[in-house]
Subunit: 241 residues, 2 copies
DNA sequence: CGAGGGTTTGAAGCAGCTCAAATGGAGTGG
DNA sequence: CCACTCCATTTGAGCTGCTTCAAACCCTCG
């Protein structure tokens, strides 16, 4: 079982339309897989399933936005680039998340797999038809999009005002929240992915991990997993200094 | 006529539900005021109008979120605070924008007037009733919320990966876009507001303005206005280095 | 005209970056 | 099973862009 599967398994049926920003800090109600009836998921019936290798592009910023994707398994990163190559990762997406711009001609960011992924592809026209046929869907999507906006605002606070160590602590806690508060969390993405998500360099991320390790706040486990040894201390770090 | 009125007049009927993030980089279609029929604005009929002084609180992070607000005139800032007082401004809002969390118990950020403002207050229960009565409203709100998310993602790129001067150039261009691309733009907010929006200090913002002035890219006008002398050069700065 | 606030400018410090090298771990082939 | 390669990660050392601290400037308003 690969690392990302562990994340995916704990992930409830999150549903994210349009732009998907930083999904990390979003708190989600836990609902066991068994309770999800297929009837409640009209998208599944029209989706086309694709399996994609790790580190592959799904679409790039500027491509015609003719489809949206829902992640069934695996981890995906969304990012924007500056002309000189500087990269900002907008979010890491997991099982249940949806990707793709709902109301624009072209994708405004790029999407790549971090791990091997299974995704559902839903064409734009099919989604539009579904929205027409089922007006309640829009309200549901509105609710989830609003949550995404909340997450994006948390990330703005992080990027604009937190120190490197505070950013790292926030990141780890957000991951922990996504996996139902588990102490051990999977980190399928590289240091450089984390750096580009937090507005840092890989070296600074690495030094931060070292500092958290020597402070006994975290412990590195096998398979790229991290154990949060002192949740409260990390929370203090994350919220402030 | 106060400075903010100039911004407001150029502002079409933007409509922003739920969390309102950085609205700056959002491009909006221009529609003259005369074409807006009151019938197309069901919110206006149930809204309670309030006039608020400059530098006043509208609501604070953590307050019960029992109403949303639509700005009729003036400029408002939304921000989040860290426990030690560091502030990140999430966005500046203007006429047409809506503020207030649609699907949470409490506001997740604070809102304050920058200039004197006129706002419409719509209670949460009234909005919910309106959404039930008029399902198409949800889809419209979804569209606009998605635009907000796009703006938030642009701001993440700015905060995480741009230099001080690039941030300033981006900010000025975004303001210019909001006022239909006018060369002269109003800056009703203080240096410290701008700093907290761009993840900088007031001193760095001030030095940036000075550098843009001596480079002949901008010119300071009366009444806190700024004229963009070289739009293209600013655009080069904003997108990259 | 004087007080009070925001803004600008100056000088010094430092958090995080850059450049560089060492370490380590996973995959590959002998 | 080991040797080797490759590349991500870690560590080190110096640098720099932004911050911090401080003071001067300047506008507005009473």
């Amino acid at each position: 079982m690969s690392a990302h599967t562990a994340i995916a398994a704990a992930q409830p049926n999150r549903f994210v339309p349009g732009y998907l920003a930083a999904t990390m800090p979003q708190s989600v109600g836990g609902m066991p897989k068994a309770q999800r009836s297929p009837a409640a998921d009209p998208l599944a019936t029209i989706a086309q399933v694709k399996v994609i290798d790790r580190e592959q592009s799904i679409f790039a910023e500027g491509d015609a936005a003719d489809a949206i994707f829902r992640i069934v398994d695996g981890v995906i990163r969304l990012y924007k680039l500056l002309p000189d190559g500087r990269r900002q990762i907008i979010g890491f997406l997991q099982a249940g998340d949806m990707v793709g711009l709902a109301f624009a001609e072209r994708y405004l960011y790029s999407a790549e797999t971090v791990t091997a992924c299974t995704v559902q592809r839903i064409s734009r026209s099919q989604l539009d038809a579904l929205l027409d046929a089922q007006p309640s869907l829009a309200r549901k999507l509105l609710s989830v999009t609003t949550s995404e906006l909340v997450a994006a605002q948390d990330q703005m606070l992080l990027l604009g005002r937190k120190t490197a160590l505070e950013k790292l602590a926030s990141f780890l806690l957000a991951l922990s929240r996504r996996t139902d508060g588990n102490r051990a969390i999977a980190l399928p993405m590289s240091r450089s992915d984390i750096a580009d998500y937090l507005g840092l360099t890989t070296e600074t991320v690495s030094r931060g991990f070292t500092k958290l390790k020597t402070s006994r706040l975290i412990r590195i486990l096998d398979g790229g997993k991290v154990e949060l040894l002192d949740h409260d201390a990390l929370a203090d770090l994350a919220d402030c200094a």
